[in-house]
């Protein structure tokens, strides 16, 4: 069908493999220097004179905040669920909504401080992940996809029908994070002044959150938890037999993903002043999934690249924005056919996909599939 699939490598892949080998062998201080430089670069983005090139239609710092920053964070969260543990979650936007609604409700009703609500909202998002996951994670993977999809819709419809949280009108007047007057100034921006029209300070919050998530995700990936996740992803039955408590680890992945989604929701709602249920449609879940798959599920830089592309391209080329979901759909299909591992794949994931089964076993009715040994030719 396609050589790149059969061999599992092509020139692009081998180039990235080379880069990755060099990276893995580099001394620790070099790698940390690069991390710090990347962090500083991310912080400097809003003030760099990139606006005219990167974003001719919208204010560049606000574009960096939403959709780019928000999508990157959501994709990192979904990556833990889909990329690491191999659980297809189609209702990820629900956790984002839960985080945002907690800030909106607690902030407007009780006048609580933003920073008091953040941990509560994150915790509640994680709890909702557990509540959703507990009954469904014992099921086969594809049922999970539909149940999470249903859950996403339930959350949205419930928000629309519940007058206590504003119904279809949503909640206006959400508090910003508290200002620090005369605070430190970075790149000519007062970084702790959260005004209505400033975007950069909020974006800095997202960058810090993002860095935190990346560090945690890396640590998890390299730990016993991460090994358990990849064992589950590759073959759940085998993992269970080998003594991995699969249900527990799947639930953990779900809760962590939900917490990250919830955190993103809080920080997003902290800027936008008012939220409505229509801010959390299914299409957003599908977009984030597209970002994860496009970038290379399981690989953090890949996922971030995917999220950036998915967020930035439609904003940069406004004339094509209407066509973006159609393009996402086509890209998802084409990626699954020609490059299921994504643009920047994780090496392990790629190997699994080459083997044929990634988590849920292979499709039925295939007769030259992975577990039939030699392919049987059926009716050309």
């Amino acid at each position: 069908m396609n050589d790149s699939i059969k061999n599992g490598k092509n020139s692009v892949s081998s180039f990235f493999d080379g880069v990755r080998d060099r990276w893995a062998n580099a001394p620790t201080w070099q790698r940390y220097t690069v991390y710090v430089l990347l962090f500083v670069f991310a912080l400097s983005l809003p003030t760099l004179p990139l606006g005219p090139i990167m974003s001719p239609h919208v204010d560049w710092p606000s574009l960096l905040f939403f959709p780019i920053g928000v999508y990157v964070l959501l994709a990192l969260g979904l990556n833990i669920v889909v990329g690491q543990a191999g659980l297809l979650d189609l209702g990820f936007v629900a956790f984002y909504a839960i985080g945002a609604y907690h800030l909106a409700y607690l902030g407007t009703t009780f006048d609580w401080n933003f920073w008091v609500i953040v941990p509560i909202a994150i915790l509640m998002a994680a709890v909702s992940g557990v509540v959703l996951g507990a009954p469904t994670l014992r099921l086969r993977g594809d049922y999970l996809a539909i149940v999470t999809l249903g859950f996403g819709e339930i959350v949205r419809i419930t928000a629309m029908n519940t007058e206590a949280i504003g119904g279809t009108n949503g909640i206006p007047g959400i508090p910003h994070p508290p200002n620090i007057e005369e605070g430190p100034v970075l790149f000519g921006v007062e970084i702790f002044k959260y005004g209505l029209l400033d975007s950069a300070p909020y974006y800095y919050l997202l960058v810090v959150l993002c860095a935190l998530v990346i560090i945690l995700a890396r640590r998890w990936e390299r730990s016993r938890v991460g090994r358990a996740w990849s064992a589950i992803r590759e073959d759940e039955d085998a993992a269970e037999v080998m003594g991995v408590p699969t249900f527990k680890f799947k639930l953990l992945a779900f809760a962590i993903g939900a917490a990250i989604g919830g955190a993103t929701g809080v920080f997003w709602a902290g800027k936008v002043v008012s939220i409505v249920p229509q801010d959390f449609p299914f299409i957003l879940s599908a977009t984030i999934l597209a970002a994860v798959v496009l970038g290379g599920s399981g690989n953090i830089p890949g996922v971030m690249l995917g999220a950036f592309l998915v967020a930035w391209l439609p904003e940069r080329f406004r004339g094509l924005a209407e066509w973006r979901f159609m393009a996402f759909g086509a890209v998802l299909v084409l990626m699954m056919i020609f490059r299921p591992e994504g643009i920047l794949p994780s090496r392990q994931r790629k190997a699994e996909l080459k083997e044929g089964t990634g988590g849920m076993g292979s499709m039925g009715a295939e007769v030259g599939g992975p577990d039939s040994g030699e392919p049987v030719e059926v009716a050309k």
Binding site: L88, D142, I146, F328, V333, G356, G358, G364
Partner: protein, 350 residues
């Protein structure tokens, strides 16, 4: 800055629960008063769910894939039927009667089945077959299905609907159908009126279900489908042409969704590019409810879901209709994941 909420008192809690208790009785009375009309509507809706659920269950039986884009195949059918109506019936022409009505309905059925069946076969060819050929993972297949669903929805909104109905840039709006079938009450059950429209939908759905059941259980093609669902490898050894069986499964499932689309149009008299999204999830729920992979289960599941959803809607209020359906799905998966009639694949592959 911090304003303390009012201190908690048990009396307040009871006071706030009292009106709730009254509303619950009111809701219950509402359900009782509306019981029979709700039931009639639920059965008719259930017939449509069942027809769509057949496509999910058949494809799942053969490929073990949730054909996520099946909802868009249903939508294609409703659009196909609508094209027939808008072409042949002038918006102000009034009711069509006699032989003309029969001809129109048959033509709608044929066109919607052809559109949906063709779309389903095309979908299989483009989005699933390549994956099947190199033994991709089921996660990859499911993502491909989601992509295909998204693509079809947007393709219809941006290209097909503006082109077919001459609505430049308004493909996302609801499109209404001119009423050509005068609705008359045929008889009443316990005071609930049953219209000719309801009867027509129910009769057509039951006829299609009967034909499908015969096809699967009585013909050689049906034997091939059943054999593939049980064990594809052995089926190949026994001389079943898998590719052909898969294609036929998609064609038949698609045609059922097409009929469902036409009947949906008769009942609700409008359609939209994303009409399949919610309906598809509900039909999938119906398939799971009856036991996925089990064709008779899908029929039972469809009717049960239609009824349960309507009763739930009557009890909690119409705006919770969709939530009721999703909650049913979660509950079924929690307590009886093999469905009412049992999952036929599970038995075969246990």
């Amino acid at each position: 800055m911090l304003r303390r909420p009012a201190p908690f008192r048990l009396a307040d809690l009871f006071a706030s629960l009292l009106p709730k208790a009254i509303t619950v009785t009111e809701q219950f009375n509402n359900l009782i008063a509306q019981f029979w009309p709700t039931t009639v509507d639920g059965v008719v809706k259930g017939a449509i769910y069942a027809l769509i659920a057949l496509g999910y269950t058949m494809v799942y039986g053969v490929l073990r894939l949730i054909n996520f884009a099946h909802s868009e195949i249903f939508m294609t059918g409703s659009i196909g039927a609508l094209v027939v109506v808008t072409t042949l019936v002038a918006p102000t022409a009034g009711p069509v009667t006699g032989l003309g009505l029969v001809g129109l309905l048959l033509l709608m059925a044929v066109v919607s089945m052809a559109a949906s069946g063709g779309m389903a076969v095309l979908l299989e060819q483009i989005a699933y077959r390549p994956l099947r050929k190199h033994g991709s993972s089921r996660l990859a297949a499911l993502i491909s299905a989601i992509g295909a669903s998204l693509f079809l929805m947007e393709f219809f909104a941006l290209v097909v609907i503006p082109w077919l109905f001459d609505r430049g840039g308004q493909g996302r709006n609801q499109i209404a159908m001119a009423r050509f079938l005068e609705r008359e009450e045929v008889f009443t059950i316990f005071g609930a009126s049953v219209s000719n429209n309801d009867l027509l939908i129910l009769a057509a759905a039951l006829l299609m279900m009967f034909l499908l059941d015969q096809l699967v259980n009585r013909t050689k093609i049906g034997r091939g489908i059943r054999a593939t669902a049980m064990d594809p490898q052995t089926a190949v050894l026994m001389g079943v042409n898998i590719d052909r069986i898969v294609r036929i499964t998609f064609l038949v499932g698609g045609a059922m969704a097409g009929i469902a689309g036409m009947l949906f149009l008769l009942k609700y008299e409008n359609t939209r590019y994303n009409i399949g999204f919610i309906l598809g999830i509900k039909a999938f729920t119906a398939a799971v409810l009856g036991g996925i992979g089990n064709i008779r289960g899908a029929l039972v599941g469809g009717f049960v879901l239609g009824l349960v959803e309507n009763y739930g809607g009557a009890f909690f209020g119409g705006q919770w209709l969709n939530v009721v359906a999703f909650v049913v799905l979660v509950l079924v998966l929690m307590f009886r994941p093999t469905g009412i009639l049992g999952e036929s694949i599970q038995q075969a592959r246990a």
